[in-house]
């Protein structure tokens, strides 16, 4: 039994090393000069030289790009959470055919792959001049609300209606009941909804690539094409750029690991 456990431990560690290897290789090679990298990718760099990072940082316009990603993701998350929770509250507290149909429409919308709407979507939003960051955030509300409403609606069932009643008798209006009583109680599911949408929007490439055309407004994934253009790839810069791009995610993961894994599991299993 002892021997067996030891073998399992070894197998686990071995697999762990394989899993981390691509990140390790990216990181190690990000410190090499173009020539060093050309000579080999498996050895360590001769010195800890940050010049690739400085160049990649500037070429990516890193601070502006990071700001765009934070801006788009942040605003999208806030409006998705706020409006989806509100809608789920209305749907869950009003048991009627209309509510059932509306919920059904939102759930059915999850079936629609992005490719099926992207061409007319870009064309329509182009006509009303909304192919910009503002339009993008609004689109995320449209695409993100379905799953969020579904999750909030499920959680609403656990919040007793007597709470609404008590608040109503105390003179609270509908919005006050929602905002001061119900919304705070939905906090666990708000965390899940926030995490799922953050992972999706932060990493999304295709939608922003179609919507954002002006230089200076690009999010992180869009900017990666600077390194992987039409011509030969400059691997040493690309590795530094990729490391910079995933750094914010790794930092976030480090601090919120448990919540992230729980959120993703809940989102998939429910």
């Amino acid at each position: 039994m002892k021997w067996k456990k030891w073998r399992l431990e070894l197998l686990g560690v071995l697999l762990g090393l394989i899993w981390i290897a691509p990140f390790y290789l990216m990181f190690v090679n990000s410190f090499k000069t173009q020539r060093e990298l050309f000579e080999g990718t498996l050895n360590l760099p001769s010195s800890l030289d940050f010049s690739n990072y400085i160049e990649a940082f500037q070429e990516m316009n890193f601070l502006q790009t990071l700001f765009n990603s934070v801006l788009v993701t942040g605003f999208s998350i806030v409006i998705i959470i706020f409006f989806s929770a509100m809608a789920a509250y209305a749907l869950a507290r009003t048991k009627s055919k209309v509510s059932t149909v509306i919920l059904f429409i939102f759930i059915s919308a999850m079936l629609i792959p992005f490719q099926s709407v992207m061409i007319p979507l870009v064309s329509l939003f182009g006509e009303i001049d909304l192919l910009n960051r503002g339009g993008l955030i609004f689109m995320y509300l449209g695409f993100g609300s379905s799953l969020s409403i579904f999750l909030y609606h499920g959680a609403m069932n656990n919040i007793p209606e007597t709470l609404d009643e008590a608040a109503r008798i105390d003179g609270a209006n509908k919005f006050q009941i929602f905002w001061y009583i119900i919304f705070p109680m939905l906090k666990p599911i708000t965390v899940t909804v926030g995490i799922l949408n953050t992972i999706w929007i932060w990493n999304d490439y295709l939608l922003p690539s179609l919507v954002i055309n002006s230089p200076g407004s690009e999010t992180i994934p869009l900017r990666m094409f600077y390194f992987f253009g039409q011509y030969t790839t400059q691997w040493h810069l690309a590795m530094a750029g990729l490391t910079l791009a995933i750094l914010p995610v790794i930092i976030g993961y480090f601090f919120a690991q448990r919540a992230i894994i729980k959120g993703v599991t809940d989102g998939a299993v429910k």
Binding site: Y89, F106, I119, F175, V269
Partner: protein, 286 residues
């Protein structure tokens, strides 16, 4: 709140408005356009099913459909086998289990585009170097042929998604009672028998969830495809989502691309409805 109350509709307006303008109208308008000669600016004549008939005879579209199906099957099998194995390893009370969970799950937090670029480096440069060092001819020239492009994509997706599927299996494995396994152990059941007759039936619902999650994710894949192979060599590793994108935005055949997008929608919806059917059937049995 009642449906005739103003507040009910005020609470629903923002999301209904967004869903309508972003999803429902484009889907409706797009479906209409797919029967016309729409070029992005003018609608053109109504052409009936012409775009659809052309699409189904379009070799590039059919090739991408087959490539997508083959890729999905290989990925779904590998991701689920690896995902379940990882889940069994990290739930077996080994010392490093928390660290390993973190590591296996990590790729899921990073965008497919970035992961694709990282693996492009691994396949093209690192594989070549390993091949040189150990004299393995097969590790040279990855992503330059259809076969290595195919397996490159499968490896990338297995590496990325196995950790995701792992956490789903873990959630179900935790529901398996320790006493039950212990009892079977005392009764002399081997490790395999315990897995086969106790653990497996209890985690069976996880298979349905995982299978269809992986299926819909791999079937709709775009970012990884773009970053790793960009459909090359000669469009032979181009999947459906990319084929539709290229028809629309590279060849500028909007109406034609939209007809392919509608076919894509029907296939994806069919897959999902089959899933819902199986889930319901299982719930009835239980």
């Amino acid at each position: 709140m009642r449906t005739r109350d103003l507040s009910y509709w005020l609470f629903l307006t923002p999301v209904l408005f967004a869903l309508t303008t972003v999803v429902i109208i484009p889907l409706g308008v797009g479906t209409y356009y797919s029967f016309t000669e729409w070029n992005g600016i003018t609608t053109g004549d109504f052409v009936g099913f012409e775009n659809y008939i052309n699409a189904l005879q379009d070799q590039r579209f059919i090739d991408s459909l087959w490539f997508t199906i083959k890729f999905s099957i290989a990925s779904v099998i590998l991701i689920n086998v690896i995902g379940l194995s990882l889940a069994l390893i990290v739930t077996s009370k080994i010392k490093t289990n928390n660290l390993l969970r973190t590591v296996f799950f990590m790729p899921n937090l990073i965008g497919g585009l970035i992961l694709g670029f990282i693996w492009q480096f691994i396949f093209i440069r690192v594989f070549a170097n390993i091949g040189q060092a150990f004299g393995i001819e097969a590790m040279q020239g990855w992503l330059s042929t259809t076969t290595t492009g195919f397996w490159g994509l499968v490896i990338l997706m297995s590496w990325q998604m196995s950790g995701y599927i792992m956490v789903i299996y873990i959630a179900y494995l935790q529901g398996v009672s320790k006493e039950l396994i212990e009892a079977a152990h005392i009764d002399g059941a081997s490790a395999w028998q315990r897995f086969r007759h106790i653990v497996f039936p209890l985690v069976a619902p996880a298979f349905t969830v995982s299978m269809f999650l992986t299926l819909s994710n791999t079937f709709k894949l775009y970012d990884q495809n773009l970053a790793l192979t960009d459909g090359g060599p000669y469009n032979s590793t181009e999947m459906l989502a990319m084929e539709i994108y290229n028809t629309a935005f590279v060849q500028n055949s909007f109406a034609y691309a939209q007809s392919k997008a509608v076919i894509f929608f029907i296939v994806v919806a069919a897959i999902t409805l089959v899933q819902v059917y199986f889930n319901k059937k299982r719930e009835v049995q239980m």
